[in-house]
């Protein structure tokens, strides 16, 4: 007796759906009005709300940076006091890290793009998504209150025992960051469930875009690491409010324990910040080289490897903190291991460009800048991982320059590349390409002028977080300040042409870059529920050797009357649905 073989594939009737051009009804024209926006559960609107918020915080923290750099033009006090300086560098760091870098790609761009790339209407838990935005806002409010009620001068790391004894409103600030962590956890949870459960028919794990892989890896870190930060900040609060000795030696605590706790979150957090950037780089390089990504699995798995090893290297922040030699050796070793998957990514991206058809549009320029700057960030990271050299360089401007090359040269460049890449999809408008390229070039020059001298200064022994400094460093500081002003000009230009494009920009087509990724099969801007059909995926997002028509398939709906010419029976092997 022959029994039918059990199968988890099924046949689907599909037809071709071309994306609508110049759509009349989009998510921007429906459900308008302040209340509709504030209560929206649409992932695109929430993404834009995040985008607005992080832009605001980037502006604030950026202005703070300019104040710091201006003060550092002279070795002695010029226009702010030492205490003001200490508060400003604390805020610059804390705001950039917690309110801009961590949510920038996942919460703003990720929220917008993730469901579009999965071909679904929204994330798995739309209301939780809105909740996470409001948690972010509440966390931000607490932080703002802290700033206006005494300020915080501990540095963004809140090291004990200084943070347990200094004046100012440290409690309010840590409470803000504590709340913020839950926003991050909920977003991560939402993304993981959405990627697992809501992929379109045929969107198997090996057809997932690398941006989604990077968001997946990031979400895992967010869920596992953020609670540790919450616990640490809670312990800090207990110590300050209830005088329970945990970290403060005066109460019998151990200040180095705090550093372990703090970096157990904050080192993985570095990867929360940079891994989504890797995803954007993969998308843009493939699209603008019009070529299949090289080493799909190498890139996808290296993200997961970084997420995993990234948990085990926190001790390299404490090489001179009184840690045992054995611990230092182990942490140094693991730190070098994490460099390998990062190197693999760089080489795979270069190989993708090889023999491609490279279009030097603005997003691609940002990604080329990323490859250069992030490589410098990586090499200087190797330098800092070497134990004997780190003893000399630890807590100097060398470290400051290193993490700015990673965070700004890497992450912010990738974010800006992504912003320019998806701008037409988000708003349906094109920006001025010439001005965009000018701003990108200025930013690249300004960035290097700012931070290259800091490598030299740091190697020469200039410690970080110094309000005054010895005169021998003045030339380097002045160079650095000029670079910061150049970057400021670049951001002003960017703000002008982006805002201009919203009102006067040319209408964008649905797929202005000719990408094969799924989000470009939605209209620009997408309709409220993204697609009017259920997309069916038979190719990967980088299959540039396949005709565009194969990327525009959806489940045929007999009620709509389909065009028999494009009707196609999909073999069971080529379309695997989830059920």
């Amino acid at each position: 007796m022959a029994t039918p073989e059990p199968t988890n594939t099924k046949k689907l009737q599909v037809r071709r759906y071309k994306p609508e051009e110049n759509p009349k009804e989009t998510y921007l024209t429906e459900e308008t009005g302040l209340w509709a926006w504030m209560t929206t559960v649409d992932h695109k609107k929430i993404g834009l709300m995040y985008l607005g918020s992080i832009t605001f915080f980037f502006l604030v923290a950026g202005i703070l940076a300019l104040i710091l750099r201006t003060e550092l033009l002279t070795p002695a006090q010029s226009f702010i006091t030492a205490d003001a300086y200490n508060q400003i560098f604390t805020l610059h760091g804390a705001i950039m890290v917690f309110f801009f870098l961590v949510p920038s790609v996942p919460a703003a761009l990720g929220n917008f793009i993730l469901p579009l790339q999965l071909g679904c209407k929204d994330v798995a838990f739309p209301r939780v998504n809105l909740l996470s935005y409001y948690i972010y806002v509440v966390g931000a409010l607490f932080t703002l209150i802290a700033i206006f009620t005494g300020g915080v001068d501990t540095g963004w790391t809140f090291y004990t025992p200084y943070s347990a004894t200094t004046g100012g409103n440290v409690m309010m600030m840590t409470f803000g960051v504590f709340i913020l962590g839950f926003s991050s956890i909920l977003t991560g949870l939402n993304f993981i469930v959405t990627i697992h459960r809501m992929r379109s028919p045929g969107l198997t794990w090996n057809r997932l875009s690398l941006f989604l892989w990077s968001l997946y890896a990031t979400s895992i870190i967010q869920i596992l690491a953020t609670p540790v930060l919450a616990i640490t900040l809670l312990l800090l609060t207990m110590e300050r409010l209830l005088s329970i000795g945990i970290f403060d030696p005066a109460l019998g605590g151990d200040p180095v324990l705090y550093q372990h706790f703090f970096w157990f979150y904050s080192h993985p957090a570095v990867y929360i910040m940079i891994v989504p950037g890797f995803g954007i780089v993969s998308e843009i390089i493939s699209t603008f080289s019009r070529k299949h990504i090289f080493g799909y699995w190498a890139i996808a798995l290296s993200s997961l490897a970084i997420a995993f090893i990234g948990f085990l290297v926190w001790g390299h922040h404490m090489f001179v903190a009184g840690q045992s030699s054995l611990a230092n050796m182990v942490f140094s070793f693991l730190t070098f291991l994490v460099g390998i998957p990062t190197g693999i990514k760089i080489f795979n991206w270069l190989a993708t460009m090889h023999r491609g058809s490279i279009d030097l549009k603005t997003p691609m320029l940002y990604i080329m800048a990323f490859l250069f700057l992030f490589s410098i960030g990586g090499f200087t990271g190797i330098m800092l991982g070497a134990l004997s050299v780190d003893i000399h360089l630890h807590d100097t401007y060398y470290v400051v320059a290193h993490f700015h090359y990673v965070m700004m040269g890497g992450m912010v460049m990738a974010f800006l590349g992504g912003l320019h890449y998806w701008w037409p999809k988000m708003f349906g408008k094109m920006y001025n390409e010439l001005w965009a390229k000018i701003a990108c070039g200025l930013l690249f020059i300004g960035f290097n002028v700012t931070f290259l001298p800091q490598f030299v200064m740091g190697s020469l022994g200039m410690p970080r977080r110094y309000f005054n400094y010895l005169e021998q460093f003045q030339a380097y500081h002045q160079f650095s300040t000029i670079g910061a002003y150049i970057m400021g000009v670049a951001f002003v230009i960017m703000a002008i042409y982006l805002v201009h494009s919203l009102f006067k920009g040319k209408q964008a087509s649905s797929n202005p870059w000719g990408s094969r990724a799924l989000e470009w099969q939605a209209a620009s801007p997408p309709s409220l529920h993204n697609y009017h059909h259920t997309p069916v995926i038979i190719n990967g997002p980088y299959d540039y050797h396949k005709p565009m028509s194969e990327f525009q398939l959806g489940i045929a709906d007999s009620h709509n009357g389909h065009d028999p010419h494009h009707q196609k029976d999909i073999e069971t092997k080529s379309v695997e649905a989830d059920k």
Binding site: A82, N86, K291, I344, G356, S357, L371, F379, A386, R465
Partner: protein, 313 residues
Amino acid sequence: MNRLSDFMLPPARSTLAGEVDALFNFINVVSLILLIGITIAIIYFAIRYRRKSDDDTTPLITHNSKLEITWSVIPLILVMIVFGWGYSGYLTMTNAPDDAYEIRVIAKSWLWEFHYQDGQTSINELHVPENRPVKLIMSSDDVLHSFYVPDFRVKMDVIPNRYTSVWFEATGPGESVIYCAEYCGSAHSQMLADVIVHTQDDFDLWLEAGDAIDEDLTPVELGRQLVERQGCLACHSTDGSTLQGPTFLDIMGRERLLTDGTTVTIDENYLRQSILEPNTQVADGFPPIMPSYAGSLSDRQIDAIIEYLKTLD
């Protein structure tokens, strides 16, 4: 290579510096070669494979296992070299020779105190002999600090309730800067000191003569020198401006409100009390953070400081 390290590194003035600098140069040179390679590839590809028309097609190349292994293994070998080199240098830096001359270091916000084996002390000036290993046993009186001498390539955090140590062997007489490298509050960037390297004979002389204070100085002149040398000026100005502590200008005879609400008239006794037990009568509006100078200043030195303060009006 030498030019690179001359430009990027401070003078090498301890026996530890050579190995650190060699590794620093090695990583820089290898990184530079790789970075130039990557940059040339980016630029070359962008020009050579520039899009000619919208109908360009590209070859389907999905992966190449041999290449993947190559560019994983070669960097792995390179970083393992760096790891081993860095760790062996680090072992030398952490294990002080048994015959090292020990000096006790106490960090306070915001000054460095050094206690020598024969009872001698100095503030913000570390005196050491040349060509002899010196081991510092360090602790902090308040928050975290970090002892950093770029010229020696040594750094170590200084922690309350725990001893940390660092050692070095200076290679010749001269002066180098000591920085505090762990953020410690308002005057973090003023927490500087000097390390003065003597020949062994000079060092012995210095230990005998103490702080080499000229006995012939007038009390006012001696007081002026002490105020400069003991780190007072990090927090107390002499021109009327407010730093972390009240200014010294016109201090004598002034009425001062204290944090407990009482008022004192500043006289010799108040000044002496404030130097020896600074946090018993704290001026209103200032944090109780001044370290005590009991044991590190003699009566004659305190007298001299008071005489000097009287002249500031």
